[in-house]
Symmetry: C2
Amino acid sequence: MVANVPLDAADAEACGLTRVPVDLGARSYEIVIGRGALAEAGARIAEVLPGSRAAIVTDETVAGLHLEALRASLDAAEVGHEVITIPAGEASKCFSMFQTVCERVLDAKLERGDAVIALGGGVVGDLAGFVAASVRRGMPFVQLPTSLLAQVDSSVGGKTGINVRHGKNLIGAFHQPSLVIADTAVLDTLSPREFRAGYAEVAKYGLLGDAGFFSWLEANHAAVFAGGPEREEAVAASCWAKAAVVADDEREAGRRALLNLGHTFGHAMEAVVAYDGARLVHGEGVAIGMRMAFDFSVELGLCSPEDGARVETHLTAVGLPTTLADIPGQMPPAETFLDIMAQDKKVSRGALTFVLVRGIGEAFVERGVDPARVREFLARELERESAAR
Amino acid sequence: MVANVPLDAADAEACGLTRVPVDLGARSYEIVIGRGALAEAGARIAEVLPGSRAAIVTDETVAGLHLEALRASLDAAEVGHEVITIPAGEASKCFSMFQTVCERVLDAKLERGDAVIALGGGVVGDLAGFVAASVRRGMPFVQLPTSLLAQVDSSVGGKTGINVRHGKNLIGAFHQPSLVIADTAVLDTLSPREFRAGYAEVAKYGLLGDAGFFSWLEANHAAVFAGGPEREEAVAASCWAKAAVVADDEREAGRRALLNLGHTFGHAMEAVVAYDGARLVHGEGVAIGMRMAFDFSVELGLCSPEDGARVETHLTAVGLPTTLADIPGQMPPAETFLDIMAQDKKVSRGALTFVLVRGIGEAFVERGVDPARVREFLARELERESAAR
Ligand SMILES: NC(=O)c1ccc[n+]([C@@H]2O[C@H](COP(=O)([O-])OP(=O)(O)OC[C@H]3O[C@@H](n4cnc5c(N)ncnc54)[C@H](O)[C@@H]3O)[C@@H](O)[C@H]2O)c1
Ligand SMILES: NC(=O)c1ccc[n+]([C@@H]2O[C@H](COP(=O)([O-])OP(=O)(O)OC[C@H]3O[C@@H](n4cnc5c(N)ncnc54)[C@H](O)[C@@H]3O)[C@@H](O)[C@H]2O)c1
Ligand SMILES: [Zn+2]
Ligand SMILES: [Zn+2]
């Protein structure tokens, strides 16, 4: 059992599921984690939202793989439901799909106490969550995350939203789910590349605040990938970590910014490749970004080179990219990265904000990082990149 | 001074403005009311949201009348701003305008701490408020209501939203403003019909919970219409009344439903005329609906006929309609009204909910009203209607 999971709350139940509470006062809820949890979704939903009907929002890929199991579970619990299927992929997080899904939920004649259920990855969760936040000014929302990224990151914390041409996730709402069910068995059908991308976020929790968890991952990553009970432990530990930060800072005023470790560099890379998932998916950008955040911290004299090396070694061991050279295609000059980072929404009134580290498990938010130091660092990264090609 | 306004808080300031606090914990804010308050908007906004830039959302009609005064006030306070003008009228509360205004706010490069300012009636306030709730998952929002309805009703309480083909206000958010400034002088340019429609909501506060205020209105309505200091008092008393209910029940779980006095019948009438503002505007439907709610309560033996008569007399005195016969055009059968009311979002799991009265100032929520009694009552109202034509 992972060290930072309190034993009482994580005690295996009769059915072998792990429960992680998210403590948000009146908006508190539970994350239920484990192999086969989807089969219990109907009963859990009927328990948390008695008498509710539901609209399931899912994407075409996930519908083909896991929708029948969910429907059977809802039928068994006599939870009436309709299905709204959207195309798979980031492009579905847009205004027109938002309108379409809102209207389909109203077509289904759901009332204010009925539920919107997201069955899918972060795209489905973010879109369906914004719909749930907006229809009748807020309907109950249930997350059934099916990608590793969604299980350990996007389904926890209440952020929902869509993309606009100005950037990703710029329109949305904070809307907490009433229940999250993460069935770790559904990850068996996820592509290895998507699984690895989600794993970058798992490693992030260790790197930002829990050195013990990172050591555990160094020892157990193969079993996490293979789908043993270690996978469930890793998902649970990640949810605990994110839930703790979210409970502390629901509306992202302060500490929640730590979750952006690796993301300032990562988002810039995603923008540079114009969000072309063939070249770079989010978690890959985060992996490279975390390695860079460590090396940048080493360069600033904040962190030991040994810790920087350990990060690179582990990410490489699981098959994640760690350098700009790992991204197919041409990279632009350092200045382009800086421009993008300055536009990033984490910029507050002009100053550059970074999550830096004093070592593994010791991240902190630094506001007002000197752009000249960032430019120098990036220039060296880019030299290393062109040398590697 | 109106009896239910505590003297300390409503104390005239140096500049003669009235301040009504809305007590919502961390989301508390103030409503500033008075002739000429718009000239102070810049200074107040700079005080409440120091360092912020702003996007003003307004409609074409209001822009022509009051935008320059606001811009001058913002300039004087050095609050940088952009203007986003939408067509006047209910049709602007739609998905495509929501998208357009969101994008225009992002075009203006507003950051998360910058403000969206609504300058206009309820249409502008509801749309701009939903935009403010959604851009970057929530930006500060300032309401400068310019219609009487917006000053006493839509700008207080945090409800925002747009319409869809399924009904009005079905998509939106609860998003409290940081500040509301109601300049009672801008109402001088409002059409008499729109002023009267807003007055129906003023009278509603007396009828639902404050018999003393209703008596005061019976004595002072002419001065409220003429624009004397009584207008400011009536707006302030209405804001106090709504703020008290909202503070008690922010997310509309219980007591807030009292604000729907007259609205179940009223909404049905609006639907019957297909929201054709030439035939019926919202406040007119509310006036007729309140008179009907009183007479229905009299018929149920809950309320004295004298109170019912007083309501009809007062609404007629200010020029508001009180019967179905006052609506131009043909009325459908009682069954049509019932069908519409059953679809109304105030219906919870099939039961008909009404706000009924035990007398002036004594409204209460009755769940599970017998549809047969409503049908009978409506049939008699419709007979009276055809007799009157
Ligand atoms: N709300 C938040 O806090 C938050 C946090 C991080 C990321 N996000 C968002 O999450 C999104 C990325 O999430 P994602 O990586 O899950 O993307 P995704 O939802 O697009 O899923 C990735 C791909 O995997 C497929 N898939 C999902 N589950 C599967 C399964 N069990 N078997 C087979 N295929 C499956 C999907 O159909 C899709 O093609 C981004 O839009 C990002 O902005 C949100
Ligand atoms: N959010 C809430 O709690 C709430 C409550 C009640 C009503 N509403 C909404 O409010 C809307 C109705 O509000 P409304 O009656 O203010 O409608 P509105 O905004 O359309 O204004 C009515 C008309 O008056 C004009 N106008 C506004 N101020 C003026 C001024 N000072 N001088 C001259 N003309 C002026 C407008 O241009 C418009 O043509 C509806 O959409 C309704 O759903 C919301
Ligand atoms: Zn991420
Ligand atoms: Zn109204």
